[in-house]
């Protein structure tokens, strides 16, 4: 018996030291999350990233694995965020060509939305007594995750906290935006899509695409432009304020 246990232990020690496990469980957890999301008929509350993160945090806590050990494997996935961010220029360009005519109102609404997103989140959290690092991690939360993490790092927030806040923001926006827009009696699909994209980035865009194609295109455009606008404005604002 002792021999089998020892053998298992040796295998475990070997596995714990290679990046293979971190990489495999990341993909497996995401596939599980994606499967559940489809089973839930693409309900934004069943967000696949959120499910994957919860599964993995549970698994790591259960096995007593620390985050740096996990990240040795997961870094290979994480690294692709950089080139993927650059690749966002492709859909941005595709949508930009379609909406050139509306450029002025879109740009003004973009700047207003970008400042409102950061300002209202920081304002509410500050009024309720959040710490400075939470405030700085919250500020870029309406921007698509890879860019938001970059901004958080720039301004002194916690990028990994920002990553989760961005996902939760997307879920909140995808769930609440249709009701908010109905309440305001805004029926134009371009306006609806653009507002969702500014507030709730890719998760909102996925939701907008389910409802209307035009809304989806404007939401995707808003997401790309908001990444640029917030990356340009927020670090400057933070520098002025702190």
């Amino acid at each position: 018996m002792g021999g089998v246990d020892e053998e298992l232990w040796r295998i475990w020690v070997y596995l714990a030291e290679t990046p293979l496990v971190g990489l495999t469980v990341t993909l497996a957890a995401y596939l599980a999350g994606d499967w559940l999301y489809r089973r839930a008929k693409l309900n934004p509350l069943a967000n696949p990233v959120l499910i994957a993160v919860l599964l993995l945090v549970g698994l790591l806590l259960l096995t007593g694995t620390d985050y740096p050990t996990y990240f040795e494997g997961a870094q290979f996935v994480h690294f692709l965020l950089g080139p993927a961010t650059v690749a966002l220029a492709v859909p941005l360009y595709r949508q930009f060509r379609q909406v050139r005519r509306h450029a002025l109102p879109l740009l003004v609404a973009l700047v207003a939305g970008s400042l409102t997103a950061a300002g209202s989140a920081v304002g509410i959290a500050w009024a309720l007594g959040a710490s400075l690092e939470t405030l700085l991690s919250l500020a870029p939360k309406s921007v698509t995750t890879p860019v938001a993490m970059g901004i958080a790092e720039q301004i002194g927030g916690l990028p990994s906290l920002t990553a989760v806040l961005v996902i939760l923001t997307g879920i909140a926006g995808a769930v609440l935006a249709p009701h908010t827009l109905n309440l305001l009696r805004i029926r134009d699909w371009k306006t609806r899509g653009f507002a969702i994209g500014v507030a709730a980035h890719g998760i909102g865009t996925a939701r907008a695409l389910q409802i209307d194609e035009v809304a989806g295109a404007f939401s995707g455009l808003a997401m790309g432009l908001n990444a640029l606008a917030t990356a340009a404005l927020l670090p400057l604002l933070v520098r002025l304020l702190f």
Binding site: T26, Y30, V57, L81, V86
Partner: protein, 119 residues
């Protein structure tokens, strides 16, 4: 595929170097994205190979957030302490941002359309 992946990495690399050299408060990959966007504007079309590579990366974009998201486990005590302001900020800000963006866009579009009709 390989060529367009190299192009994406090159844009990011130039972005990272530019940010470090100038002290610009911008994430390097965002500068890379702006560079590629400018390049596409100059070229006037998206090369098929780039469209394919970008599509493959972006179709699986959600997966790429997972490792960073798991990092929240380092900050569990912070989240436990400050869950109320965080939750209130996320929900409140989502509603306010959607409302402000939509209202500004609607008002401006109507105003511009009205001005255009008068001319």
């Amino acid at each position: 595929m390989l060529g367009s992946l190299t192009l994406l990495l090159l844009c990011q690399l130039i972005g990272e170097v530019a940010v470090r050299a100038t002290g610009l408060p911008l994430p390097g990959p965002v500068v890379g994205m702006a560079l590629l966007f400018a390049g596409l504007l100059v070229r006037g079309e998206i090369p098929q190979a780039l469209a394919d590579t970008a599509g493959a990366l972006l179709r699986n974009l959600s997966l790429l957030f997972v490792p960073a998201g798991v990092g929240v486990m380092i900050h569990l005590s912070l989240v436990e302490r400050e869950w109320l302001p965080i939750a209130a900020a996320l929900i409140g800000s989502a509603v306010i941002t959607v409302a402000v963006t939509a209202l500004v866009l609607q008002l401006l579009s109507r105003w511009l359309r009205g001005a255009g009709e008068k001319e």
